[in-house]
């Protein structure tokens, strides 16, 4: 299994509070991604990183920010959580980007009340 750890695995929070999800990898892969998975939508890209301090937006980036200060860590922050951000969030890593193997973490289930 790819060395990807997500934390927390489960979180319940209230609308308007900040939330940070962490993804940690031990594979030294260049690319890291944050996806959300919702029924009927499949996996949708929030943000991705192609190197330390190099990040870009995905298709559903509104309301989210990311940071990558070290190769192994990619943080996803919801500055002010909303109920529409209730979802399961997956981190993924890839050495080769969109033409390389992509491996996922176990997911972080976030509930915003």
């Amino acid at each position: 299994d790819a060395g990807i750890t997500q934390s927390p695995r489960h979180k319940v929070t209230e609308t308007g509070t900040p939330v940070t999800l962490r993804c940690h990898q031990t594979e030294n892969h260049r690319y890291m991604y944050w996806y959300r998975q919702d029924p009927g939508h499949g996996l949708r890209l929030i943000h991705y990183s192609y190197g330390v301090k190099d990040t870009d937006k995905g298709e559903v980036s509104d309301g989210y920010s990311v940071s990558r200060s070290k190769t192994e860590d990619f943080l996803l922050t919801l500055e002010s959580a909303t109920s529409s951000q209730t979802s399961v969030y997956f981190c993924a890593i890839s050495e080769g980007g969109p033409t390389g193997e992509l491996f996922f973490g176990e997911g972080s289930r976030l509930t915003v009340l």
Binding site: G40, G42, L43, D56, E59, P98, T99, E101, F104, E106
Partner: protein, 112 residues
């Protein structure tokens, strides 16, 4: 955005039979494809991949077929087992892009 879809949302097969799961994609520039298996409460698990310069690739009990003419991808599982019950979905990526695109998945149920 890209369109990656699956023909059937659910599939039930008898244990020991072969399973075929299909996927259609719309981006002619896509040159890399992955099949994932996702069990309830877990992250997607990489099964097998194929590049556009290939038509077929085999793994352990799984085969992926790629038909670039009609932009169709399929996953064949031989001798399906109860442990194969899960949601399967495909992903596509391209050198010209910066992200993968995913289908919503097919739920496979293996009947003992």
């Amino acid at each position: 955005g890209e369109s990656v879809g699956l023909h059937l949302p659910t599939l039930s097969v008898q244990e020991g039979d072969n399973s075929i799961i299909n996927c259609a994609y719309s981006n002619s520039a896509s040159d890399y494809f992955i099949w994932y298996k996702q069990e309830s409460g877990k992250g997607p698990q990489f099964i097998i991949d194929i590049r556009s310069n290939m038509d077929k690739r085999q793994g352990q009990r799984v085969t992926v077929l790629l038909n670039k003419t009609v932009k169709h991808l399929s996953l064949q599982i031989a001798a399906t087992q109860p442990g194969d019950s899960a949601v399967y979905f495909c992903a596509e990526g391209a050198n010209t892009g910066n992200q993968f695109y995913f289908g919503t998945g097919t739920s496979l149920t293996v009947i003992p």
